[in-house]
Amino acid sequence: MRIDCPLCGARDRREFYYQGAAVMLARPAPDAGEAAWDAYLHLRDNPAGQTRELWQHEAGCGAWLMVTRDTVSHVISGVEMAEDVKRAAL
């Protein structure tokens, strides 16, 4: 498996650290309530198809990436800098 890091180019997945679903980008406010925090930390969709997930190019540039990947075909259809995704959402 290879991930096309926007800074470094296509690299073997061994260079990357896998975090999990990209919902981690949307940290709830401290007073968002139990349900929101429970969802943020614990509840994950498990789709057969497109997922958005966070990887870090840990053995490379250190960038956190949002990777759009199909869990059935393993095809990666998009790699964005998590920083850019988060900025756009701010």
Partner: protein, 978 residues
């Protein structure tokens, strides 16, 4: 038997090798199989279960029978296919799975018991008594069944792994692969062409047909010569692609020096490749399948294509009187080649009744079948069943062809399932099964040489198009374009055992029995009968077996389906996959700048993550590590000790929002910290448990340096990156790891300042350097950093210098500390010193403990948000009943404490329901004269002074202990400020 005037072996180079202790001669270019056949040796192995005599079946990597052990002693390699192993002078080979000898194998008695040993035999027979399985049945079965044995010695050979990148990977260098590679290479694509054979050309080396105006083999050699002269082409022979993975990544095993004697000088035996290709052309060819009939496993029965290969490539006729049995046109090619080479063809038994034989130069039995064979350890006769009855024919070789199966394996490694083609009675790859792969030639069901050459060009062009490159015209040479017609025949009806899977001794009867017992799914059938298992993975037998299963269950073949094809395509040595990972290569080793000196002082090293740290520094006259440890603890408590603490993670944090970041990742406030001061911080995970702790120093308004624990340095760095990139990209802050850039040493003990004042260029005092002060210092003209922090509770400092001065500084610190009655201390002493003060490490913050549990609940600032704050407040995490940090002392001074032991109320039965907590860290305190410990006890802080029981069920230790505050020395912290 050699046939003169043919073949591709080098008759000028004689080679001698041994098989089962006997020396044989051959020629350069021979495999063990071809050379043994040339010497008249047909018996090459014994079967897995029944120990039936077996000879070579094939001429390629699909070989199920002729498995041998190559080499001697530690270098012995079992289960090598004799059809793949090339011979060289001095090669030593042995047969397997036979005792006392291959010719006379005692275990062949199993064959007589065959009626009782069919499919599912083990499952039915060895059920009772239960404990007999491990004790009696399994050892006996394992001894009787089996392949080659490992040497039992450490592997002394060298292996390698490597990576390659290319525009186009072409798998297989037969007519299709060569044309595809040529087409792409001439257009300028970066091509890697791999082939598992030692000689590129594929079937062209085994056939007599011409390509253009040359023989196929000569034409192939010409193409290979052209390709090898091109800079954009890499040719890899003896390399088998073993697996296809995501992202157009291919695994491949290269036999680097398994074909010659020179293995010295670090030259690897084999190399495991990971090849990343933008596009791939799969031209893996096809594998011929046998036909099942009674006793079709006798040595001398071979596939028809293999007989042709031995004849045309290796100048060997596997017999003097040969019969051919087939259901297709291709079988006739074998008969024609044999006749042309002057070998007596006794007859061709063609199962098809309406076959047009033309003017064949050999007797043809149309509409007939071979229904049995005779002979002992080699084939002597066959029984032919015709419309008029059964006739015996005296033959010493039978060439069998049940048709060809395209080698679809690699196309199925990414979940693809092959498609059944009725016209060729075989599975072909399903279009698009592997992204960026074009399948061509025999692998795609294209069988004539002319069609393969044209298909190779088309595949090369398709690849170029996919790569966005322009195509150059390539002329397709003229070659045979014979039709391939066949009539399905999987098994000849009759009594007795007709073999499908030679390697696992699975017969037609076994498959039918599995179906009768309702193991009707092809995957169930496989596991019940062991069909298709072991080293050959049923390459020549799987399709036949599932055809029988389809018949037995009344389903069509495509409906029955195939089992799952998984990597690797051929066996791969674990040593090659893990090349470089043995011994010191297992993991990187991180050494501090004091490593060399530390080793010179005889300190045993312990691993801390990838780091190596001294356990203790032994001195003459000390008999145990405890003596050394006690002495080193004394240095720090009474004089001065020095310790390399460079392994702690150091992260340099800069920017106007650095304080904001620290406030967010630590539970306590850092933005208010004054420049020149240090603060202890606690870091949580978002779920509220403790992640790490350490000190952070403020070196300037916008400049901090954070220390992490040795173990969590990487995780903390990743965490900071996550926070700054994923949660707060708007903050202006940047950080980088400087762990490797600074060598840092603890100087601890009442004489610490005295030591430093002889060393630093300007003397320090308590006023300018109070507890928790930090700042630059000059050490021999070098600017370093001094931190007045303590992990021992003593008056202590940490002195950091750029790493290149680390070794020199350590030498200096050791010398100066020794003059003051102290010296270096290791991890054992460091551990005792911190337990005496109740300082936590990852033995306490092990991923479950909360700030509340370690007594730091109040460190979570109420004034601000931080990672983990919300979740740390969950009721379950701040319950008074939770096990919380306490100190533990034995009631009797000689009582033992052990890490990991459990805590119970005094006198309570030490069982799970009574569990009150556990011991996390222990050590012997020389000052207290007894063992002390830290642990987690339910409602611990409310139970000071209570006497409880410590029970270690694993080590068999039980000690009565007193609960105390987790600080054993200087509870008011006077020394550290002194």
């Amino acid at each position: 038997m050699r046939v003169a005037g043919k073949g591709l072996i080098d008759r000028s180079r004689r080679v001698r090798f041994s098989f089962d202790g006997k020396t044989y001669g051959g020629f350069a270019g021979d495999t063990v199989a071809s050379a043994l056949l040339a010497n008249g040796v047909k018996l090459m192995g014994r079967s897995f279960k029944y120990h039936r005599p077996r000879g070579v079946l094939s001429a390629g990597s699909e070989e199920p029978n002729a498995l041998i052990t190559v080499g001697k002693g530690a270098q012995a390699e079992p289960n090598v296919r004799a059809t793949v192993q090339e011979i060289y002078d001095g090669l030593v080979t042995r047969s397997q799975n036979a005792w006392p000898s291959l010719d006379f194998d005692v275990m062949a008695a199993n064959d007589l018991a065959a009626p009782f040993l069919g499919a599912g035999f083990y499952y039915k027979t060895f059920m009772w008594p239960k404990r007999f399985w491990e004790a009696v049945y399994e050892p006996i079965i394992r001894k009787a069944a089996g392949l080659g044995a490992l040497s039992g010695q450490s592997n002394v050979d060298t292996y390698e792994k490597a990576f390659a990148f290319c525009d186009l990977l072409v798998i297989g260098a037969g007519p299709t692969g060569l044309m595809a590679a040529l087409t792409a290479a001439r257009a300028g694509a970066d091509v890697v062409l791999v082939d598992e054979d030692s000689l590129m050309g594929g079937r062209l080396n085994a056939e007599t047909g011409a390509v253009g105006h040359q023989s196929g083999a000569v034409w192939a050699a010409g193409v290979v010569a052209e390709l090898s002269g091109m800079e954009n082409v890499r040719l890899m022979s003896r390399t088998t692609v073993t697996g296809v993975y995501d992202g157009s990544t291919y695994g491949a095993i290269e036999r680097v020096s398994q074909h010659h004697a020179e293995r010295s000088g670090g030259r690897p035996v084999a190399c495991f490749w990971r090849i990343v290709a933008r596009h791939c052309v799969l031209a893996a060819g096809a594998i011929e399948r046998p036909i099942a009939f009674q006793n079709n496993d006798r040595p001398g029965v071979m596939t028809a294509g293999a007989v042709r290969a031995y004849l045309n490539r290796w100048d060997v006729s596997p017999g003097k009187r040969v019969a051919v049995f087939g259901n297709n046109d291709d079988a006739h090619r074998t008969a024609r080649d044999l006749v042309a080479a002057g070998v007596h063809v006794v007859g061709l038994i063609d199962a098809r009744a309406d076959v047009d034989v033309g003017d064949a130069a050999y007797p043809v039995f149309a509409g007939a079948q071979v229904c049995n064979t005779g002979g002992r350890n080699a084939l002597e006769s066959i029984t032919v069943r015709t419309a008029t009855g059964e006739h015996a024919l005296q033959v010493d070789c039978l060439a069998v062809s049940g048709g060809w199966n395209p080698t679809v394996h690699l196309t199925c490694h990414m979940n693809g399932r092959p498609t059944w083609r009725e016209d060729i009675q075989a599975f072909v790859p399903t279009e698009g099964a592997v992204p960026d792969m074009t399948v061509a030639g025999a692998c795609n069901g294209v069988f004539s040489t002319a069609a393969c050459l044209a298909d190779g060009v088309a595949a090369g062009k398709a690849a170029l198009k996919a790569l966005g490159k322009r195509t150059a015209e390539v002329e397709v040479p003229v070659a045979e374009d014979a039709p391939y017609a066949l009539e399905p025949l999987w098994a000849v009806a009759g009594k007795g055992r007709a073999w499908l899977d030679f390697q696992n001794d699975v017969s037609v009867k076994d498959i039918r029995q599995a179906a009768a017992e309702n193991f009707k799914s092809v995957e169930h059938m496989k596991r019940y009968t062991t069909q298709g298992m072991a080293t050959d993975q049923g390459k020549s037998s799987n399709i036949g077996a599932l055809a029988i299963l389809a018949d037995a269950t009344g389903r069509a073949i495509p409906e029955t389906g195939t089992t799952t094809y998984r990597p690797p395509f051929v066996p791969v040595s674990i040593a090659a996959m893990g090349a470089g990972g043995q011994g010191h290569g297992f993991a990187p080793e991180r050494w501090t700048t004091s490593h060399k000196r530390t080793e010179e002082m005889g300190a045993p090293m312990i691993e801390a993550g990838l780091w190596y740290r001294p356990s203790y520094f032994p001195k003459a006259g000390e008999a145990t590590w405890r003596e050394s440890c006690d002495r080193e603890v004394g240095y720090v408590r009474k004089a001065v000790g020095v310790c390399d603490v460079s392994t702690l993670g150091k992260i340099d944090i800069q920017g106007p929002d650095a304080g904001k970041l620290l406030d967010f990742v630590y539970t306590n406030v850092f933005s208010t910290l004054k420049v020149g001061r240090v603060r202890y911080g606690l870091m949580l995970r978002e779920d509220g448990t403790v992640m790490d702790d350490g000190t952070t120093a403020r070196l300037g308004d916008d400049h901090f340096v954070m220390t992490t624990t040795t173990a969590a340095a990487g995780a903390v760095m990743r965490h900071l990156e996550f926070v700054s990139q994923c949660l707060h990209p708007e903050w202006e802050v940047a950080f980088t790891s400087v762990t490797e850039q600074w060598a840092q040493f603890a100087v601890a003990g009442p004489k610490a300042r005295e030591l430093l004042n002889g060393l630093v260029d300007a003397p320090i005092d308590g006023e300018s350097w109070p507890f928790m002060a930090c700042g630059p210092v000059s050490v021999g003209g070098v600017t370093g950093r001094l931190f007045r922090i303590s992990f021992s509770g003593e008056h202590a400092y940490e002195l950091a210098v750029p790493s290149r001065y680390g070794a020199a500084l350590f030498d200096e610190l050791v010398a100066r500390s020794e003059k003051l009655g102290g010296g270096p201390y290791g991890m054992e002493a460091l551990n005792v010193l911190r337990i005496e003060k109740g300082f936590i490490t990852h033995a306490e913050i092990e991923g479950r403990a909360t700030a509340f549990d370690v007594g730091m609940g109040r460190m979570i600032s109420a004034k601000k948000d931080c990672i983990g704050k919300v979740m740390a407040a969950r009721p379950g995490l701040v319950e008074e009943d939770r096990p919380q940090l306490v100190g533990l002392r034995p009631v009797k001074a000689d009582g033992a404490l052990t890490g990991g032991a459990h805590l119970f109320d005094a006198g309570a039965e030490p069982v799970r329901v009574n569990h009150q907590g556990h011991v996390s860290s222990v050590g012997f305190s020389p000052d207290l004269g007894c063992m002390i410990g830290l642990g987690f006890l339910r409602r611990g802080p409310a139970r000071m002074g209570e006497v409880i029981d410590m029970v270690d069920h694993v080590r068999g230790v039980q000690t009565r202990v007193t609960v105390c505050a987790p600080v054993f020395i200087d509870p008011d912290g006077e020394r550290v400020r002194g």
